[in-house]
Assembly symmetry: D5
Homo-oligomer: 120 residues x 10
């Protein structure tokens, strides 16, 4: 468990007997480009099927805010957020989509998935 | 049968010999956050394939209004509305989608499904 | 053949050797609620794969207008329009979608399908 | 000063030497129809030029929430919110626009203005 | 007072000391073309500054519904609705905009205004 | 009176004692470029305040269709339609806006106005 | 080969070893209703996987323009364009979608497909 | 007359006795940043009231294309296009709006006007 | 001149003899709420008529980025950006509009203007 | 390796053990029509699942800019960009979609796909 994942709090899934989907859309994510030092902006869309645990919304907001002054690349930060959330929530399924604002006239989307069955 | 489901009235499905889909979209759902006491707002989208019974639209509106001053979490209220409607209508299929307004800069969607075949 | 279906005229499918799709969208459907006497408004979307016959567009408009002062429920009118058109056109496939305007803050969609293969 | 206006907090206008405009848009206003008891929903748009005082945003949110279970008509509530805010802030100019959701197939907008010069 | 205006009910303007604007948008107006007998559809936008009286919303809906099977031209019906409402409400200002659906590939808007000062 | 204006039929303005506005939007106008012979497409927006006469909608449609195979430039056709309608209707005010589709990557709008006072 | 297909020019597919999709959207198609003589307007969407030949864009425009004064029904013209293009291009796959403007308050879409495998 | 304005061709205003407006919107303008050498992209909106001359559309397209590989700043190019067109057309009024795509997360609009009266 | 305004670079207005408008829209502004420590997000729209100087776009971006970790209120930051830019550019006219994202369900716009004539 | 592909730089995929998707949307692509010499404009959408390498965003921008003054057809340029990127990145999957602006009233989309498995 790293510094950032300590920020994530959970609560018990109220209906673990059923597969259902939770989607949280956070349009105010910002980090810093490690190469240029300029800020990057993205919308982070988290979609998951909970097993035992759900992520507490306020703690998830603080977790995302903790990247504000970190220097990290698009591909790396998207994979890291998925890995952190999978590590804490151990969900049945999770998808993390990061839609980055235009840089040099080009906008980018990174889309990472996790499925429990594949891991076993 | 709980207090709320007593509000739900039904009428006989006029074409039970055929599978067809009914979708009701209610953009004026509001309940209260049990933690902060602040109001939450959502659009509730109900989609189902009726078996013997259809839900009467006005009674469904009163049922949804009955949550106005209840303190209940996003995940719990979405599962509860599905369970209440499945209990009363006993449909062939039902999906309940709740799209909650932004809280702390993050909007949320909860999506719960029921299929008769899975239950047997 | 009932009073309404007599309004429906047809013409021979110019390309019966090929499966292809015809969609007619009619946003000006109105009937009357049998309970309250108030008018209901809907967009009727007809999609079908013709066999021997296509529906003549003007006669289809008159057919839809004939419901103007009829008292009939959402679910019943959608199933009836499908049944009437299937009876007259005997298509390979047909879908009827009725999107009803908001009533009591709730909008409704009814979606009914017919496939020739299922009937045999 | 009534019960509701006690909820409103203010802070000193940081630039009183200049006329400038502040607009707060609150899409989650809800009150109750005094006739039918059913909930009403509106977006409240407040636009004003401050004199000595600005309204504190969180206290304004609590003020709007205090109408949640009040029975009050569209025209009356819009005029009351303007009067309450004018009484507390004593602005150079204020406009209050309330956009109410569809009721019986009809949506409504109420638009009320106050100008200091007119009052003198 | 004609048959239709008897449908219109009023209530006292709660703030007659102040000029303010009320807008009611009714997208479900329908009448019949006196030439062809086919239905016409329009959105009716009523904007007014009340003097002593406001129009009661439900009675205004019934008034609009009373045109459902009347044969009347675009220009005539728009002027008539304005005249009826001015006669009953005696407002300081009123504008009636009727946006008619496409007929023969052409959509039409009729826009009629009344100001008390002009009449005197 | 030229060949085209003979197509235009009128009916008496039902409310000549009042200034009011009529807008007809016709998105299916097409003529031919006199230089290249290729078809041009435009939306024609007619806005006018009638004096004694209103234009009959169906005849106006036929009038616009009569340009279908005429070779005529953007600026000329827009001015001609205004002149023809002013000649027949003798309105208090008229504006003709023609929005032409993209040609060579450039779309064009021509906007011509007539006011009775200016003419006297 | 009929008169119209002689207008269609082709060029060799630069990458025949690979399946890929070409979509041309032409929003300015117009023909004439054979019954009423009034113009019809449509957007023609051509999607295909080329085999040996691609359609030259300018010649395809002239081909579509050649229908300008032809009297032909919705269903027939859509099937004819597909047949003409299949005859000239002999593609691996082709879909022709024609979206016709509103007539009598009803808009229509005709959707025709061709697949080489089915033909063999 | 510079090299670029030689590209601009004109034709006589068919209705010089009347003030009317012509708007040409060209979304495919591109030039090069003189500092970085990277391409800039803009939509150029030309609005004018002609005196004796109108700009020929094809020649205007060639004129705009002539900037393709020129190094020139946003503010300078917008003023230059206005000056070139005023010099050639000598219009009664002209406005040139250039909407530049996002650079470094910031989009820019330059808006320049000319009026004959001001010049005298 | 404070620390931040040192970041702003200028270049000579290429057309000072003419009044014209420059608009820069920066949707990626972020600062920190001084009360809660949470990040705020806004779109900053700068509109001005230059006198002798224009703001260099890249330096303006760096200037806006310098607020990233500053704790400052909505009203104060909007007035400060206007004052800083007026101090450096000494424009004929300037307007600064800051559109802040939703906080507690309420979005805010602050709109500040400066005109040279008023100052003298 | 041709002149253009030398412009493309790569960096190691930070998560090669997992299949995930990267999408870069570049709306500012421009080349020249080899037949007419006029510029073409397109939005280039690159979607891929990386194997060992990711494309560096700035170098990809320079690569796309290198087509600015090349004469090349729609179908050819789309296939070439895919081939160049597949050659350099050797991805698990790649799709290249080019959406070209309207030419002669017709817009075009070219859609090319590559899958590693098919190649073996």
């Amino acid at each position: 468990m790293n510094e950032k994942t300590k920020l994530l709090e959970t609560f018990p899934n109220p209906n673990p007997e059923r597969d259902y989907t939770i989607i949280h859309t956070a349009p105010e994510f910002t980090s810093v480009c490690p190469k240029t030092g300029h800020p990057d902006f993205a919308t982070i869309i988290l979609e998951y099927i909970p097993e035992e645990l759900c992520v507490e919304l306020k703690s998830y907001k603080y977790y995302l805010q903790s990247f504000r002054n970190d220097g990290i690349y698009f591909e790396a930060v998207t994979n890291k957020i998925l890995d952190d959330l999978v590590g804490v929530l151990k969900p049945r399924y999770m998808k993390l989509t990061a839609e980055f604002n235009t840089r040099g006239g080009i906008s980018s989307i990174i889309d990472v998935e996790y499925e429990k069955e594949i891991e076993l």
